[in-house]
Amino acid sequence: MAGLATSLGAGASTNSLSQMADMDLLFLFGSNPNEGHPIISLWLKKGLRNGAKLIVGDPRKTWMARRADVWLNLKPGSNIAMLNGIVNVILENGWENREFIAKRTEGFEELKAKVREYDLDRVETLTGVAKENIIEAARLYSHAKKAMVVYGLGVTEHQTGTENCIAIANLALVCGHLGKPSTGIMALRGQNNVQGASDLGPLPATLPGYQSVALPEVREKFEKAWGVKIDPKPGLKSVEMLDECRRGNFKGIFILGEDPAQTDPDLHHVRGALEAVEFLVVQDILPTETTNFADVILPGASFAEKDGTFTNGERRVQRVRKAIEPLAGMADWEVICKLSTLMGYPMHYNHPSEIMDEIASLVRIYGGINYARIEKQGIQWPCPTKDHPGTTTLYTDLFSRPGGLAKFIALDHKGSGELPDKEYPYVLITGRIREHYNNGSMTGRCSGIVEIVPEELLEISAEDASALGIGHLEQVSVSSRRGEIKVKAKITDRSQPGNVFLTFHHRNALSNLLTSGFRDPITGTPEYKSCAVRIDKL
């Protein structure tokens, strides 16, 4: 999210999901919504049925890739080269939106100079995508009236994740495809409340509402509201806290509803950290790999057991309602209040609506939101005042950067942290399938889902399988420099030769034992989408 924030001002999708029905071009990049976001895929399909053209950038031959007007089957990790190449084609042909660039952006000359280095020959070599497809993608995108870029974790889960997002913003800005209905950039969020969790400040360098902890006036506002002194020094990111645990410098962690011991990359490192930390408290609804390491486990309440709000990927704040009593007697928000009070900082709220009222008083983008207003339908932030209707389309007038201008940022291709070699010749891409969810702690306990998808399968192309002498559903070992797992192989043309795919849904085949420790230096997002593995027949 840092990428879009850098270029445009806010780390958020620019439009409403329902606007997807009316676009005339969809550029789907690093996202497989049919599996990861099935209901968003329905909006996209509606757009396609209404006649929208389709460009898909994905190393996997997904449902959308099969139906694409242009499929950019790029090598994993070559996103920046791909996007620079497309921008270069647009500029060379004069297809850019000069008026938009002049009036609403800055830094164009730097971008222009940089992308010139990405001629078609070079981009074809770096990405593996045929030149004519790059040209066609550039032509289609730049000539569209209402073009949306929809991207997913295939863009962000790289060591260059932030830069990949910036590269997407560069492309949209060059064509002026922002600030109008059905025209913009949509980031698809993996988890129900990624947007809200980012908005509301469990982040080490910002207080709720992306307000920098380094700014004295921000601290002053929160110090007044909270009645404490706030440390001006940014804290540690979760991965850094874990690093410090291993070094013996970090002593106590409270983990709320997260499972780093299964879902973080390079699990041996994570598990070493969780073992090393002196006192670990984990609150969760179900036992996970992480709860094994806890000194105290606190029961969590599921979404059915509490009141509150989630903010979705289009910035819509919507109600979560208590349908049944918390099974363990307390909702998570009550537990935090009680713990805080016991530690000498009293917190008391009668209902989560009072917490939202406090949020609204401190966070401008949520300023006009309260439970009464979102009783029937959620509101999309920014919603600064009680009479503001919310915002369906961002940046119709100004970008939320200083001066109101969006910024072009010149970028270079870096590639993945770990590339295939003789010893580990395949690229492993990890991701989701539709039926399961993340660590599988929830869907793995849904009997019907377990019945239809009981186990992990390695998706491998027929070419690679035959070279390795592997048959469909035969057992194989997948290993990387960090670990090994045993799974069955599924031969499918969804994988291109050289690439294989695993999910991370199954506790008995922990694919994150394989993934690398490379991370985006800005956000700390791990490079889940690319690491080198070898495959052996068992």
Binding site: A21, H37, L42, K45, K46, N50, T156, R189, Q191, N192, A197, L200, P202, L203, A205, P208, W226, D231, G235, S238, M241, K251, G252, I253, F254, L256, F279, L286, D295, V296, L298, P299, S302, F303, A304, G308, T309, F310, R316, Q318, V320, R321, I324, A328, G329, M330, W333, V335, I336, L339, S340, I355, I359, Q377, E435, M442, T443, C446, I449, I452
Partner: protein
């Protein structure tokens, strides 16, 4: 998911009252917006106009025959009648045709109390014999023909198919092919043998089905029902609680159906701004975990490598004193919290506040990046 509406306003007259409606709407949509009731069985606002069930017939001035309101766009000056003896007779005949091949097992049918066919049959008084000589004759002679006698199919964990209860409205096949674009089912066979089914009537599996249950959500009868919810209660015995899905970041709304403090089923919310009644496999069928026997029901404290059950007071007392001890001994910079993009906004805010205020550091992060 809604038709494209242009901003232009059109004036029409329905049953002698004047309505101002947005152009691009159908007669049915315009009437329903104005709370004028028109019966339908094949209509679902998520689908494109179809005109199959013939129950939504209306009289339009200037047309010699009744028109299906769901496929007729409104036009300036249109004069429409939605209720008349002739329309009632036509609707009853259509209903009689549908019911002539429908099992009357309503007392133990899964859909009773939530069945569109049952509701419309009740409204139009399906006890025609005696009340209306002409319809009685229709039923007893012409319509007392062959009936389907096909077995119920439970060939997958989620969707039960009772073909005998199908009225061939094609809502299931249309939502599968036009909205989901999964192509799992289509109308197979010809004439009396027509049925919505999979290719070669194979069992549903991941090879041919996404198990999103969209077909179930649109079925107006009990032909398609949620297998997991069967026998768990009538709709009117359950509390419907509107909420937001806990899985991905799309933000779909739906109703949790609760009976005896248990979530027994998920049903669609057609007014939801994001999903408009649509759901995927996880949203519709991924709720078992709520009542999983594996749920952590009580705080647990680890002693000598083993977890022991504890009360909330014991556990929170221990956590508070241990964190205080670490803060006092090593400084607040050595203690922190991981928040969760699975939890609510309010909880994320509170955890951020807790670490800043009760711990005294900025060591708080979420798993948004993971």
């Amino acid at each position: 998911m809604g038709t494209t509406i242009s901003g232009k306003l059109v004036t029409i007259k329905v049953n002698n009252s004047v309505l101002s409606c947005q152009s691009g709407k159908t007669v049915l949509e315009a009437c329903r917006d104005a709370n004028i009731k028109i019966p339908t069985l094949c209509y679902d606002k998520r689908l494109e106009p179809y005109g199959g069930c013939r129950l939504c017939l209306v009289e339009v001035k200037g047309f010699s025959k009744p028109l299906s309101s769901c496929t007729t766009p409104i036009e300036e000056g249109m004069e429409i009648i939605t209720e008349s003896d002739e329309l009632t007779r036509l609707r009853k005949t259509s209903l009689a045709l549908i019911l002539s091949n429908h099992p009357f097992d309503c007392p133990h049918c899964e859909k009773t109390g939530d069945c569109q066919l049952q509701d419309i049959a009740y409204e139009y008084g399906c006890d025609w014999e005696g009340s209306n000589g002409r319809d009685a004759q229709l039923i007893s002679s012409t319509l007392n023909g062959e009936k389907w006698d096909l077995p119920r199919r439970d060939d997958n964990p989620f969707i039960t198919f009772e073909p005998n209860k199908c009225i061939l409205c094609a809502r299931c096949t249309r939502i599968c092919n036009h909205v989901v674009m999964a192509g799992t089912i289509d109308i197979t066979g010809k004439g009396f043998d027509s049925l919505p089914d999979t290719a070669f009537r194979r069992p549903r599996s991941l090879e041919n089905c996404e198990f999103c249950g969209q077909c179930v959500s649109t079925c107006p009868t009990a032909a398609l029902t949620d297998r997991q919810g069967r026998g768990k209660g009538r709709k009117y015995q359950m509390k419907q609680v509107k909420t937001t899905c806990t899985y991905c970041g799309t933000g779909c709304n739906f109703f949790l159906n609760v009976k005896n403090n248990k979530v027994v089923k998920v049903t669609s919310d057609y007014d939801a701004p994001v999903n408009r009644g649509n759901l995927c496999i996880k949203g519709r069928y991924g709720y078992d975990f709520i009542h999983s026997k594996d749920r952590i029901q009580t705080p647990l404290i680890k002693r000598n490598g083993k977890f022991y059950e504890a009360t909330w007071d014991e556990a929170l007392g221990l956590v508070a004193s241990k964190f205080r001890e670490l803060i006092d001994k090593y400084g607040p910079g050595t203690v922190g919290g991981f928040s969760s993009s699975r939890c609510t906004n309010e909880e994320n805010y509170l955890l951020s506040k807790f670490v800043r205020c009760a711990v005294g550091s900025n060591n708080v992060d979420n798993c948004a990046r993971v």
